[in-house]
């Protein structure tokens, strides 16, 4: 593998009060790599990716994103956040702004682009997620799947180098999961560096370069998807897979 990781975590630890949620994490992601993170609920997988754009603060160890170390330095945090896009389980679109304004806001104020430029790119990405005809509607008027696609487009408008997905399909009705996964697959095909917390094992097999299995705040197993699904090494991985694959 390349010796030039875009995300690097060294001996990283995090606590919620007395609860040790991430234990001694050593983890690297290379440029262009697609990672699927899975594990039982409460295993720390969401917290792990939320540390990458500092929605959660780690207490010790190092996190280096694209050459910049995450510390309390606000400048560094803002720089990293502008380069790391994120999609949430509950979309978190801004309900008081139209779809196109949801997309254009951050480029205009963080990247200091003109309104015209930002709106044009917003429309470009809305085309890409096949939702341009809804541009003037408000988030509440769209279905869950449409909202999640808008959320992906919103993150892409910032031209991120890395995309984080925090269970992007868990809050969707089953018939809407595919439209969101399709967008994620096409994003992966374009070479985006992606970290996805998801239980969509089909997606993991199709797209992931590496599956990371977490349990109890630790990375238990890292493997290529085929190896992981067909021949899990660890006892806890086996147990987890038997539960989700029935």
């Amino acid at each position: 593998m390349s010796t030039n990781p875009i995300i690097e975590m060294k001996d990283m630890n995090k606590w919620f009060d007395d609860f040790h949620v991430l234990k001694n994490i050593n983890f690297q992601v290379n440029n262009g790599e697609k990672i699927v993170i899975c594990g039982p609920s409460g295993s720390g997988k969401s917290t792990l990716i939320r540390c990458i754009n500092r929605l959660e603060v780690h207490q010790n160890g190092k996190i280096i994103v694209d050459g910049t170390e995450l510390t309390n330095n606000l400048k560094h945090i803002e720089k990293i956040r502008a380069e790391v896009g994120m999609c949430f389980q509950h979309f978190n679109l801004f309900p008081h702004l139209s779809i196109v304004d949801n997309l254009a806001l951050a480029p205009m104020w963080v990247r200091k682009e003109s309104k015209k430029e930002a709106s044009e790119r917003a429309m470009h990405f809305l085309e890409k997620v096949k939702i341009a005809d809804q541009a003037l509607k408000y988030p509440g008027q769209l279905s869950g799947g449409q909202q999640q696609r808008v959320a992906i487009a919103r993150a892409l408008c910032m031209k991120p180098k890395i995309m984080l997905f925090d269970e992007p399909t868990s809050a969707l009705d089953p018939e809407m999961v595919k439209e969101v996964l399709d967008v994620m697959v096409s994003l992966a095909e374009e070479g985006m560096t992606m970290l996805c917390v998801t239980h969509e094992m089909g997606f993991a097999r199709q797209v992931a370069d590496r599956v990371v299995f977490m349990d109890d705040g630790q990375i238990v197993e890292e493997a290529k998807p085929d190896e992981f699904f067909d021949n899990p090494q660890h006892e806890r991985s086996k147990e987890f897979l038997s539960q989700i694959l029935h």
Partner: protein, 368 residues
């Protein structure tokens, strides 16, 4: 209840009278019990309101002097007629009354213009700033106008100035205090908490007293600050604390996900507040902030204790005219009527704003 904006086809096909009959049958006379109850209540209402109506309009003495009023059995509207100028304008010099009148007209015109949210812009703020300067010159004199001391301002213009200026200026202060109270910086947070709790913990009267009695003691000799200005500052300080708590309620109602999404996009604190959090929070708190504003408008009548003549004070003063003793009911009804018009319009406007801002929620349903 959630209503959808769809028209009921039944309603449109029926002629008006028939529709009314149908409505009455459905809502007033649906069962025997309801019919009895409805008739009983209607009779009660007639019983109560007929004498009031008769007293206020039919038997009323519209014009004439106090003696004519005392002969008549109805309300003495001649009293209002006689004292109208004093109640509305207070001790302002009679020959200059066109000045506060013009100020009020300008203010209402500007308020009317400002009521459409689509017109809210920096330009409008400048218009208002211009109005404040112009209004100040009109009221206090200068540029060829005879000077009138603020102690002889009074009546409705004074009430309007104290309350509207108080409400408008305290709103941004309230927002700043609310944000400060939710701040993660301990010093700012504790300062805001102390301010809010201190001001909320004392009655407005005590603040007004301090502004008029205590504050001048701290000024060096020879320096004095206009009494009206001091009262206005006290009122702004007071309303700000209340507005802060109202706004804080709105901030608390915004889901954490909105902050996270803004953070994840790289927006900084001020951008997040300005574009994401405050627009949503302030929309939520329209009803409670108007509630506070209405309360504050009425509370400005407390300035009577520091000898400023607001609307209620001028009404009280007119009642003391020895020639017109004994018409306090009419006087207070008149003052109440003006307060009611002001407060009711504010409430009505707030409901309109709520509807206007209510967009983006599923299928444009409106929840009132």
């Amino acid at each position: 209840m959630v209503y959808k904006f769809t028209k009921n086809p039944e309603k449109r096909t029926l002629p008006r009278m028939e529709a009314m009959a149908k409505w009455m049958k459905k809502n007033l006379f649906s069962t025997k019990g309801n019919t009895v109850l409805s008739l009983f209540l209607i009779a009660g209402l007639i019983k109560i309101f007929t004498p009031i109506f008769t007293w206020l309009f039919i038997d009323a003495t519209w014009i004439g002097d106090a003696a004519a009023c005392r002969e008549g059995s109805g309300a003495c509207l001649a009293f209002i007629n006689e004292k109208f100028t004093y109640i509305i304008f207070g001790p302002y010099p009679r020959e200059e009354i066109w000045r506060p009148a013009l100020t009020m007209v300008l203010m209402f015109a500007l308020l009317w213009w400002s009521k459409e949210p689509s017109r809210w812009s920096k330009k409008l703020v400048k218009w208002w700033a211009g109005f404040v300067v112009l209004g100040w010159i009109l009221m206090s004199g200068g540029l060829g106008l005879a000077p009138v001391k603020s102690t002889s301002w009074g009546g409705l213009p004074l009430t309007l100035v104290l309350s509207f200026v108080g409400i408008f200026i305290s709103y941004p202060f309230g927002i700043a205090l609310a944000l400060g109270r939710r701040s993660q910086m301990p010093f700012i947070k504790s300062m805001c908490v102390i301010y809010i709790e201190l001001i909320r913990g004392v009655p407005m009267i005590s603040l007004l007293f301090m502004s008029s009695v205590m504050f001048p003691l701290f000024l060096p000799e020879g320096v004095s600050i206009d009494k009206l200005l001091r009262a206005q500052v006290a009122i702004i300080m007071f309303i700000s604390a209340y507005m802060a708590e109202v706004v804080r309620g709105g901030l608390a109602a915004i889901p954490k996900g909105q902050y996270e999404a803004a953070d994840a996009l790289g927006l900084n604190y001020f951008q997040t507040m300005r574009f994401i959090i405050l627009p949503q929070a302030l929309k939520i708190v329209i009803p409670p902030s108007v509630n506070t504003a209405i309360g504050m408008l009425k509370d400005t009548s407390l300035v009577i204790i520091i000898a400023l003549f607001d609307l209620l004070s001028t009404t009280k003063a007119s009642l003391k005219d020895p020639e017109w003793l004994g018409f306090s009911v009419e006087g207070y009804l008149f003052a109440a009527f003006i307060y009611f018009i002001l407060c009711f319009s504010m409430g009505k406007y707030a409901r309109r704003l709520e509807v206007e801002f209510h967009r983006g929620h599923k299928n444009r349903e409106v929840n009132i």
